[in-house]
């Protein structure tokens, strides 16, 4: 299921082109499942009695979207109701988040939140909802981390060497990010903040152009997700120096954490968490949390452990709230210290 099939099904109905027509059965299948399962649960009048939508604030195809789709499929099996993904990309997740913040708190519109969720309050003054009060936490789906990579020709073999050089030659090194406020940007600013370095931020629109310039030697380092550079690391084109998580990763057991490698206290987590609008009944949150716990134990999600560098930890809604609070505080501190907020 790539890209909103519903839309393609609609276009298929209007146009008579064969290619589009082929998409229609998918819609029919979804609707058939929905209508069959809707009947008995409606009789019990218990949650869930209709299709649940998970709003993904990104375009189809990226990491968050892929995880949300597999999660939705697993939750569908457990809940006996269709759980579908609705992509609402844009404005560094604020468009999709706003839709969920303003949705009915009935448990049928959920938000797949990630890194930007905890960053937007401190970076975007024109945010149109209150992150602290507009959402009810359900569960942390997974944690992840970034990986610090340099070009294979880079003189830096360790983080210490990089820091020593950066301190001796202030303002000479550049790091690439995937845009303002992305985890690539903030992981590096946290590094500057804690290591006392002055490595210049060069912003790109997305991972691909930034990694191209890293390969071409225009920039010297990038903090990025495991999935985006796994190929270049195994081919030897890029050299990993460290991971940003608190503990070493299962995928790269030999790689130190940045904290171990010379920046004590450094942690930068990537994460994926499920939220409902504030005011959603506790029983509904309970049903959804249980469903997520079951899904993250499934084989389908386990296979992302290595490829996407995910770490699954069972937990309560309160655990998610506490985890995200730490994130918000961390990035608000970095934003203030490094002067990142836009006015």
């Amino acid at each position: 299921m790539k890209i909103s099939n519903r839309i393609f099904a609609l276009t298929g109905a209007v146009s008579t082109k064969g290619k589009l027509g082929a998409r229609v059965p998918t819609l029919a299948a979804i609707m058939a499942v929905a209508s069959i399962t809707a009947a008995p649960s409606a009789a019990l009048s218990e949650y869930p009695e209709k299709v649940i939508e998970i709003v993904v604030p990104f375009a189809p195809g990226g990491g968050t979207d892929t995880i949300a789709r597999v999660l939705a499929e697993e939750m569908t099996k457990g809940l006996g109701q269709s759980v579908i993904v609705d992509n609402r990309p844009g404005a560094s997740t604020m468009i999709g988040s706003k839709i969920v913040a303003e949705a009915d708190p009935d448990g049928y519109t959920l938000l797949m939140a990630s890194f930007a969720h905890a960053v937007n309050p401190s970076l975007n003054p024109n945010i149109q909802y209150d992150t602290a009060t507009a959402f009810a936490p359900i569960a942390l789906v997974a944690k992840s981390y970034n990986i610090l990579v340099v070009n294979q020709d880079s003189p830096f073999k360790t983080v210490e060497e990089l820091i020593t050089y950066a301190k001796e030659h202030p303002g000479e090194l550049n790091y690439g990010s995937f845009g303002n406020g992305t985890s690539a940007h903030l992981s590096a600013e946290l590094f500057n903040h804690l290591a006392g370095t002055d490595i210049t931020h060069v912003s790109y629109k997305g991972a691909a152009p930034a990694l191209t310039d890293l390969l071409g030697g225009q920039i010297q380092m990038v903090f990025t997700s495991v999935a985006s550079v796994a190929g270049q690391i195994s081919s030897g084109a890029l050299r990993p120096l460290a991971v940003t998580s608190a503990e070493r990763s299962a995928a790269f057991p030999d790689l130190p954490t940045i904290a171990e490698a010379g920046v004590p206290g450094y942690v930068s987590d990537a994460w994926y968490g499920l939220y409902a609008p504030a005011g959603t009944p506790q029983e509904v949150i309970g049903v959804l949390n249980a469903s997520v716990q079951k899904a993250i134990g499934s084989e389908a999600l386990k296979k992302f452990e290595k490829s996407e560098g995910l770490i699954f930890e069972p937990g309560t809604p309160e655990d998610l709230a506490a985890f995200v609070k730490i994130q918000e505080d961390r990035w608000s501190e970095v934003a203030k210290a490094q002067g990142l907020s836009v006015e």
Partner: protein
């Protein structure tokens, strides 16, 4: 030979059943819109962009390319049969093609068009395959500095692209640049012209904008004067060329192919100009001068070969440098950006399956067109009888769904509607919308790379002339600018477009 292993990769990509299917859909659709007057490949590709997102980038671009060169074929079919060129590039084909049809030689004219196009397409495809590797060698040397100069060159080229007044083209480019400024500043994250609207934070949607300006704008204009189309379908018989006719077309096809291949690479040249140029050349040099206008077979062969070769070679600057030579190519670049591919010299090395798959698919597509067109002529002509009042509402509904589906956003539908009106206004005022689109696409890339280059050089502007590749491109841009501005050449240029 690396070329052969590359081509082998292309063959295996293009011959996958999935890609064959999309190639077929593309050429079929292209032929259909080529037949219908008023709906060009630009409008069609703009409208189909959202549908390609769910596809693999290779399949998507193969289909879009198919639409483009398929339209060149379709346009000549109606030009010959009913003196109604479906495409601007087939206008000249109608002159002698229709005369031939009146004399009962419609079959021969169609066969000439098909064979000439196929030959030209084959030559141009080989040319494209040969031109690519040398350009790919410089790929990794392209940093922000080089990209900036490339964008400058692209913008200067797009002034030359405009077929009307230079001043108006310039105004359109600036307007496009301004529209491209809307959104979040990439370095600082500041909001520009977003008026606190989250939907504008990522900039205006390229698909909605181009569907509005090209698709809706063109439909509105067509509605203004509904053509009455009297379709008289003659029986098309005798597709075979006589031996003498065959001999007569060899020269014109070769010359047409050459002219088309060269003009196609140049910005603004493309298919239309090359068909005019090829026809003019034959008319002046042919031993059968007197027959021209009365049904000379050379008058069909030369422009048809030229427009197809031009359509094909216009992919060269797009695929190897990421610079669009016409608005169809600008849309293709948009499609690549949306697919997460950065257009430029990197495409050949980073996406070899895309690059070589597309090249080979073009040749296969051309072959399909030859086989497809002759049996389907009757169908195409019947399609002309669909009244506009049924066709256009369906297309508009299709556009709305397409614009919505990009970001699942109603805001984008309104953007499209607004730009539909703007596009109509531009047509009425005789402004070409193509430079606007180019400004909109190239502007943000220009700014981004300029600022990135300055950031990396720590504010030293001399990098643009000390980097050799960048210097060369800036020099070419200066020469081009001089050429456009010089009065004598300018007069010639206007003459060429008014012909």
């Amino acid at each position: 030979m690396e070329l052969f292993s590359d081509l082998a990769l292309g063959v295996s990509t293009a011959l996958s059943p999935f890609n064959l299917l999309y190639c077929f859909i593309g050429v079929l659709l292209g032929t259909a819109i080529g037949v219908l007057p008023g709906l060009g490949p630009v409008a069609t590709i703009a409208m189909l962009l959202p549908l390609t997102f769910g596809l693999d980038p290779v399949s998507a671009l193969i289909m879009l390319a198919g639409i483009y060169y398929g339209a060149q074929y379709g346009g000549s079919t109606t030009a010959i049969l009913i003196n109604l060129p479906g495409e601007s590039s087939s206008v000249v084909t109608a002159i002698d093609g229709y005369q031939m049809a009146k004399k009962g030689r419609a079959g021969a004219a169609l066969a000439t068009a098909a064979l000439g196009s196929f030959f030209a397409g084959t030559v141009a495809t080989i040319l494209l395959a040969l031109a690519a590797p040398p350009l790919a060698a410089v790929a990794l040397k392209f940093g922000p500095t080089e990209y900036f100069s490339l964008m400058v060159l692209g913008l200067v080229a797009s002034v030359a692209l405009a077929s009307g007044s230079l001043l108006k083209a310039f105004i359109m480019i600036v307007l496009g640049l301004l529209l491209g400024l809307v959104g979040t500043d990439i370095e600082s994250g500041a909001q520009r012209f977003t008026f606190d609207t989250p939907e504008l934070m990522d900039g205006m949607n390229f698909v909605a904008l181009s569907m509005g300006v090209f698709g809706l704008g063109e439909i509105l204009r067509n509605l203004e004067h509904e053509q009455t189309r009297s379709v008289m379908v003659k029986r098309v018989s005798g597709l075979m060329l006589s031996k003498e006719e065959f001999k007569r077309i060899i020269g014109p096809v070769l010359r047409g192919t050459t002219i088309g291949s060269v003009l196609g690479i140049l910005p603004g040249g493309g298919a239309m100009l090359s068909s005019f140029a090829a026809y003019a050349l034959e008319k002046k040099s042919s031993p059968n001068k007197a027959e021209f206008g009365q049904g000379a077979i050379e008058g069909v062969a030369a422009p048809e070969a030229a427009n197809n070769a031009g359509a094909q070679t216009s992919f060269i600057p797009m695929l190897t440098l990421g610079i669009p030579s016409n608005s169809v190519m600008a849309l293709m670049i948009g499609a690549m950006i949306i697919q997460g591919i950065t257009p430029g010299p990197n495409v050949i090395t980073d996406e070899p399956t895309l690059f070589w798959g597309m090249i080979v698919s073009m040749w296969i597509g051309n072959l399909m067109l030859v086989l497809l067109n002759l049996p389907l002529i009757g169908l195409w002509v019947r399609m002309l009888t669909i009244p506009y009042h049924l066709l256009f509402p369906a297309i508009i509904a299709f556009c709305c769904i397409g614009a919505y589906s990009v970001n699942n956003s109603t805001f984008d539908v309104f953007i499209m509607a607004t730009f539909g009106l703007i596009g109509y206004g531009l047509i009425k005022l005789d402004f070409e919308p193509a430079p606007l689109l180019l400004g909109f696409i190239l502007g943000p890339m220009l700014e981004e790379n300029l600022r990135r280059a300055m950031l990396l050089s720590r504010g030293d502007p001399t990098v643009f002339v000390t980097h050799p590749i960048s210097l060369v491109m800036l020099l070419v841009a200066v020469i081009m600018l001089a050429v456009i501005v010089l009065p004598s050449i300018r007069a010639k240029r206007e003459e060429a477009f008014s012909e």
